[in-house]
Amino acid sequence: MTRPILSRRNFVTLAGAGTAAAFGIPAYLPRIGEAADTIKLGLLEPYTGVYAGPAENETHGFDMAVDAWNKRGGIMGRKIELVKEDEQNDPGVAAQKARKLVNQDKVVALCGTVSSGVSLSVAGVANTLGTLFMDSGGHSDDVTGKSCHWNVFRTCHSTWMETHATGYSLAKRFGKKWFLITPDYAYGHSLETGFKDVLARIGGTIVGDELTPLGTTDFSSYLTKIDAAKPDVVMVLVQGDDYTNCLKQMNQFGLLKKYAVGGPQVELEPLYGLPPEARQGYWGIEWYYKSEKTLGKNNKVAQQFVADTIKRVGKPPTARNAFGYITLDRLAQAMTDAKSVDPVKVARAIEGVHFNSIFNGTAYYRKEDHQLMWPMWVAKIRPDGTPGDKYDLFDVTDTEAAEAVEQTIAEKEKVCKLGYP
């Protein structure tokens, strides 16, 4: 018997591919073609990869702001349409998706991102194309520092703000001898620099600084050095999965009972993944859904936001939801104020404008570097939440004003040149 030209295996493979294409292409076609009377905004988030959790939450925040604005008739009478793309936590993919959104989908502004590398990449592309980019979740100082641009604004706090808000607060509470566990890459180094700056200002010392290399799952080798160093507080600078590993292991080594622990920032997303006995310490937080210190007294907009999120998602909003909401809300407001979607006009309408939102007090995107100047808070973790609310993990203890914890305008102007066209 002669062999068939197309073996059965190859046939099945091709048939499968063909079927997939047949189903996939119709799903894709609606993206082609325009609805000329909507205002399109591009949202880039890492829906796959390690930051998928925060990405989803930021997106919920963005969606809710869009819904709120569309209920009121949209921007200048035109509905807002969010065009979402998965940047996959990859700066190369993000750059290409940004180009697609601007050139093909014709969005008038880009928003989103979680990781700093992606934020920087998108900021660069946006600048080349002359489009606005609202960085909702990438924390690197460079976004409003040496890589700043006229068309880039940042909502979440900068790394500098994180270290200074928690640094001053923890030094007051526990003492000035610190043991740092620092991830050995760019983000960790900038946190380290920030903390060293705080210690220099208050006259403290670093009694141990363990740089944990990329991919460290086991922190035991670093933790065994803590006893010898006798610190007042152990600062954990690692994030994400590393944070979970580190704290879990600190607990298993009995260190959480012996030493005070804290760090520049923690988010609810990784915290939910930590067993309750390992949830300890004082940490920097960027927003919280259930404290007067973060929301303000009788802040109706904030309360509505929290209630709507719980109804829509089933869980209370985290700081990531807040980033998304605040970013979109401000962008839409600026377009309305400027009566235009022209990037330069909108940028001018964003910067320097004081506004109220879902947090305590007023804030503004600083004119000199486009950083949102809003407070940062420090909170103690409640391992098991409060009765009836297992999500209520933060007991907010301190508020730090933005101007007190961010670099001064003079310092920023040395490195940041916005370069308006």
């Binding site: 062999r3 030209i5 996939g24 829906y47 998965d86 050139n103």
Partner: protein, 337 residues
């Protein structure tokens, strides 16, 4: 395929590619993604030379790709060079990488070669990640697209694409020339039975070394152009997963074929872009593609077409280099991969 029909097909393909800036918006794709297809195809060609033709598991080519990108990025950012010099520096960085690693890689064959490539690639990844002050660390580094020296013009979207297309065509012709040359034939012979080639008096190490250098330089060229395309260089480009994707594209398109690299890069890059727009579950499709390809389609698209044209019979013709990837290839043909 006769020489004439090959020329016609090539001309058609190049003509279609030349119209890409007008065709791509029709399917909602930006021209930048087509540029990405072409520069990726260069990297896939480099893997093809080592794996498809010479039979060495090339799992470290992302390192050369990344070296190209970082070479271009660092030279632009710190020395303000122009476009052409940036690309040349990138290629040089990759070539130097190949020169350094070559003597070590040459000492092993088979899967050990592959594992060594991975190990060395990870060392480069670590260097890019760790030396934040120079390379920007895991955040990567932004750098502007410099103008082309003599004419002082910065290439924008479409004109950049045409440059990349020109470079690609030149490289494709060069690749074809190399693999059809006596040198290329020797590489295939090495894959089929290295001992026999040595008994014929040839220094196989030297041939493999040259193939490695060509492969590294081509990957570096692709990397440098990619960096200039996205104005960014970042450590993930160097990671062994990226090498794995290049190998997948090679198999998908057709290992040991001239056009396979372009076909594979096209399907992977564009497919991933379109699917990821439709659903965040694109990674399942990608994984399934890997599995399906390895299990059911090891010859790849171009390889299968070539086999079809031979009537699907078990004749493994002289110029059917892809035959070794057939799932049922007899042992004599030497699956030296």
């Amino acid at each position: 395929m006769t020489a004439r029909s090959e020329l016609i097909v090539s001309a058609v393909v190049v003509a279609v590619l030349a119209c890409a800036p007008f065709l791509s918006p029709l399917v909602h794709l930006d021209i930048s993604i087509v540029s990405e297809v072409l520069v990726t195809a260069l990297a896939v060609m480099s893997a093809n030379l080592l794996l498809g033709y010479t039979g060495l598991p090339a799992f470290g080519n992302a390192a050369y790709f990344g070296l190209g990108a970082y070479g271009a990025a660092l030279s632009v950012k710190y020395f303000n060079v122009d476009f052409v010099v940036a690309v040349l520096v990138g290629m040089l960085a990759a070539l130097v990488g190949g020169l350094i690693l070559g003597p070590f890689l040459l000492r092993r064959r088979g899967i050990y070669f592959g594992l060594l490539s991975i190990a060395f690639g990870q060392v480069f990844y670590f260097i890019a990640y760790r030396y934040t002050d120079v390379t920007g660390g895991e955040d990567g580094m932004n750098f502007p697209r410099p103008p082309i020296g003599i004419i002082h013009v910065v290439l924008r979207e479409a004109s950049f694409y045409y440059l990349v297309l020109a470079v690609f065509v030149v490289c494709l012709i060069a690749f074809r020339t190399v693999v059809r040359s006596p040198f290329g034939r020797t590489l295939v012979a090495i894959r089929q039975n290295e001992t026999r080639v040595r008994y014929l008096g040839l220094n196989t190490d030297r041939f493999i070394f040259v193939a490695l250098l060509i492969s590294a330089t081509m990957a570096g060229l692709g990397g440098a152009l990619f960096g200039l395309l996205i104005n960014f260089a970042y450590p993930l480009e160097l990671d062994w997963h990226q090498s794995g994707y290049f190998v997948l594209m090679m198999i998908l398109g057709g290992a040991g074929t001239v056009w396979g690299s372009l076909v594979g890069a096209f399907i992977y890059v564009i497919g991933k872009d379109i699917i990821s727009t439709i659903t965040p579950l694109w990674q399942i499709f990608l994984g399934a593609l890997f599995v399906a390809c390895v299990l059911g389609f090891p010859r790849g698209i171009v390889g299968s077409i070539q086999a079809l044209r031979r009537g699907g019979a078990q004749t493994f013709a002289d110029d059917d280099v892809n035959a070794a990837f057939d799932a049922n290839a007899p042992v004599e043909i030497g699956r030296g991969v």
